[in-house]
Symmetry: C2
Subunit: 108 residues, 2 copies
């Protein structure tokens, strides 16, 4: 079960474009060290570090220390609060316009 607070946390965390970009890179690259994320980022190392902390606190990423490097990866259940919330209201939406799945197919 997810709480409203967890959902709020996930939404807030993903709402910042810079932070979301970091998250998307972790998704795409599978497992990245913080250094790698700083490279090619528009913001400073501390800024990236702070974003990584936020992502971790929101449960969106997990980390694995390897020597002095810390590798970040997506946390499987991190998006659950969001998916759960969408799923919870799916029935309401389905009645009124279309279901989630259909919207998914229609996208792009």
């Amino acid at each position: 079960m997810t709480t409203a607070m967890q959902l709020t946390n996930v939404l807030k965390t993903l709402a910042d474009p810079t932070r979301r970009a970091v998250f998307e890179r972790i998704i795409r690259e599978g497992e990245v060290a913080a250094t790698g994320l700083v490279q090619g980022s528009k913001v400073s190392q501390p800024a990236v570090s702070q974003h990584l902390r936020a992502l971790r606190d929101a449960g969106l990423v997990a980390e694995r220390r390897e020597g002095r490097h810390i590798h970040y990866r997506v946390a499987p259940k991190g998006l659950s609060p969001l998916i759960d919330w969408l799923g919870h209201y799916e029935t309401f939406w389905a009645e009124r316009f279309a279901n989630l799945e259909k919207l998914l197919k229609e996208s792009e």
Copy 2:
């Protein structure tokens, strides 16, 4: 097609618990006048009005004027940026742990 800005807007708009509560009431009640939303809200009428504006600006709700009442309803495509974004990364997640649909079933 949805832009990153639209997604950011939707996420930011839903990230506030009070505003999200307003949105959820609109989902559940189908079509509500602003007055109805102020009733039973913890915040003032202007606060609700500001939240409604934010929801409308994010494309999450639509309005219909009827005399001096304005009735709000969910905008069908409002969540598209969010659904699209989840869908866009679904393949990446599927490869790594589970697909969106499965997570949806597992929820609750």
